[in-house]
């Protein structure tokens, strides 16, 4: 008799388990998107901007009904722009939070490290603004909506040689993934166009005192100084250059694209030209909406970092809506994306086979303490990523 009772309990339990697992097939309450960005450390201003950009995107998407009725949920972790921390965080997002996909709001070093974790886990990841070439080469799950270093370096070269007509060029490079990848591409372009490199040197991240090196650059008498930096170093380079009397035009890149650069550099920033993704004077509606809304919501001017991360989330949402939320569905939808207009730094024409986005690159000049439009580069020869 006892045996019968146990049998009944066993059958009931098994039925319960089967039914419960079957219940998992109904719609989830939200889709989790992971984001990692530095909200502490030297890169905190950029990481916070990236997080805000992502938050705005999630808000925008959810107000439009989310992914076919299911809202997006953002899961953020701070990586302090450190590769080892980024790896930890990536493991958390994949293993603990079980995100559907992820966005990088962080720098090249950290993104590179985290990308391998996502690739191995088979979770799609989009790099918002980290430029290093190796990131997308990690594997088929890793995509990039931000500018690729090779493209941005080339555009910098076109700016220097074609638009500004420089013949003598000085290159000052920040000694990391970001700087070296930009400088390599820039150098290749300008040398091919017959310009002369009159000075070239690398400096360590965090350096504050550039006068000695700027004096040497001044002696080399360049027309243009291509200086890669993040906003701290950029502000010091630009201010000290003015102080030592270096008159060459300074060309920067997206590392300068931050209201912090404008604040720390002050008047010395006037006339500095940068290659970046966000055109403040764009007449595209979504761009102006983003710039306005960002400043209203967060009380500080919008920058490229936030805009690029916003776009990464938008592209991800598009892929999820169109293809589905499984990794291979997302990846397929990304590959089929054409002329995506819902991007602040767009339009995104398409992704290449190497999962790099093709989009115009803008040059902005600092005028009266703000970034303004200077030039746009749309020539496929320049903006097509080489893979």
């Amino acid at each position: 008799m006892k045996a019968w009772r146990w049998l009944v309990v066993l059958v009931a339990l098994s039925l319960g388990v089967v039914l419960a697992s079957g219940c998992g097939q109904t719609r989830p309450s939200s889709y989790k998107i992971g984001i990692f960005s530095p909200t502490t450390g030297f890169a905190a201003a950029d990481g916070t901007s990236a997080l805000h950009g992502a938050e705005l995107a999630v808000k925008y998407i959810n107000e439009q009904g989310g992914i076919n009725g299911v809202p997006l949920e953002l899961v953020h972790y701070d990586d302090a722009a450190k590769p080892d921390q980024a790896v930890n965080v990536a493991h958390k997002l994949v293993g603990q939070d079980k995100v559907v996909a992820a966005v990088s709001g962080s720098y090249s070093g950290a993104t590179r490290a985290a990308a391998s974790v996502f690739q191995e886990a088979g979770i799609p990841m989009i790099s918002g603004y980290a430029v290093h070439p190796e990131i997308t080469k990690t594997g088929n799950m890793i995509w990039r909506t931000g500018s690729l270093a090779v493209v941005q370096g080339r555009v910098g070269g076109a700016l220097a040689v074609d638009k500004l007509g420089a013949k003598r060029i000085a290159i000052l490079t920040i000694d990391n993934d970001f700087g070296t990848s930009l400088a390599d591409a820039f150098k290749e372009y300008v040398l091919a166009k017959g310009a002369e490199i009159v000075f070239e040197e690398k400096y360590p991240l965090g350096e504050k005192e550039f006068r000695a090196i700027l004096n040497r650059i001044k002696e080399a008498n360049p027309d243009v100084l291509y200086a890669s930096a993040y906003y701290n170093e950029a502000a010091n380079i630009v201010r000290q250059a003015k102080e030592v009397g270096l008159t060459a035009t300074i060309i920067g890149q997206e590392g300068y694209d931050s209201p912090k650069f404008l604040e720390l550099a002050g008047d010395a920033a006037e006339g500095v030209i940068i290659t970046t993704d966000l055109n403040r004077d764009s007449d595209r509606e979504i761009t102006q909406w983003y710039i306005r809304t960002y400043e209203e919501t967060y009380g500080i001017a919008a920058d490229m970092v936030g805009a690029s991360t916003f776009d990464a989330v938008m592209v991800l949402a598009y892929a999820m809506r169109k293809g589905g939320t499984q990794p291979d569905q997302i990846v397929k939808a990304l590959a089929e994306l054409r002329d995506f207009e819902d991007a602040v730094t767009g339009p995104f024409y398409r992704f290449t086979e190497g999962r790099e986005v093709m989009r115009p690159v803008t040059a902005q000049i600092v005028k009266n303490g703000r970034f303004r439009f200077y030039a746009e580069f749309d020539d496929p020869a320049l903006i097509t990523p080489p893979w």
Partner: protein, 288 residues
């Protein structure tokens, strides 16, 4: 190679290193404690200076306020922490100091204090820039050179012409004897901390203005560089600190002006430290 620029940069950097390191060497001289948390006092000075500057717009008020608050914080650290460890083996206050430094830095990074961002300190034009026949001195560098010269003068007079200065010299030679001949040790040490920390606070303000950047972790590099300076100069010797500050600045500037970044600037200090410890551990002007 423009020798004027090299000279100017050396003098400026050397002045900055001196202002930061002098407080460290003064504390070591009298207490034989390596006050690593000194670098956090430096940061507090920069933060207070900026906060007061934002309220008043006046550089001098900000400088005095920064020096006052830093001085107080320094005395508090002495009276509240080191005072209880004076007879312990020296590793105890050293490790405590490191922990204190990390704690203070972490606190300063909180959003209600300095946050994780860098902040501009737009007070560069307090002094006029100076045109000399062989080169210009921009106003920010004038500020550093003038204030450091004033400090050097003041310290010299203080150490050699006042009773307090003599008390410090006595206490650094032999603390117990100094107490035995009637020197009020507690008062002397507290004043030593007060002045050394106030100078660190001033250094924080000057560096914050000079690089137009104030942030919670700005004490990271000074925490070890000041240490290198005092080891190079002879720990406890103020004149040694003067010599060492300018020598280190010279080494950095010359290397970077002639050769470039074969080593990051801050690594040069470490190299110097290793060489000094290997070949002349008492420092250039220290007693063996």
């Amino acid at each position: 190679m423009n020798l004027w620029n090299i000279l100017l940069d050396t003098l400026t950097q050397g002045s900055i290193y001196f202002l930061i390191a002098v407080g460290l060497t003064m504390v070591y001289g009298i207490l034989k404690i390596l006050h690593i948390a000194h670098a956090a006092v430096y940061t507090v000075g920069a933060g207070v200076g900026l906060a007061v500057f934002r309220l008043t717009g006046n550089f001098w008020i900000s400088l005095v306020a920064a020096m006052g608050v830093s001085g107080l914080v320094g005395v508090l650290i002495y009276r509240g922490v080191y005072f209880y460890m004076l007879d312990q083996p020296r590793i105890v206050p050293l490790i405590t100091s490191v922990g204190l430094f990390l704690l203070m830095q972490d606190l300063l990074q909180k959003p209600f204090l300095m946050g994780p961002y860098q902040h501009a300190f737009p007070a560069q034009d307090v002094f006029p820039s100076v045109r000399l026949p062989w080169g210009d001195v921009p106003s920010a560098q004038v500020m550093i050179l003038v204030l450091t010269a004033a400090t050097l003068m003041g310290l010299y007079l203080l150490f050699t012409r006042t009773r307090l200065g003599l008390a410090w010299q006595a206490a650094s030679m032999d603390r117990d004897m100094a107490g035995a001949v009637g020197i009020n040790l507690n008062r002397a040490v507290a004043l030593n901390f007060l002045l050394g920390s106030a100078l660190a606070g001033a250094a924080g303000v000057l560096v914050g203005v000079f690089y137009n950047s104030v942030y919670a972790t700005m004490g990271d590099v000074p925490s070890y560089k000041a240490f290198v300076v005092i080891v190079l100069g002879g720990m406890g010797s103020v004149s040694g600190t003067v010599v060492a500050s300018f020598l280190l600045a010279l080494a950095e500037t010359v290397l970077l002006s002639f050769v470039g970044y074969v080593l990051p600037r801050d690594a040069i200090a470490f190299l110097v430290l290793i060489l000094v410890l290997m070949f002349r551990p008492q420092g250039l002007l220290g007693r063996s």
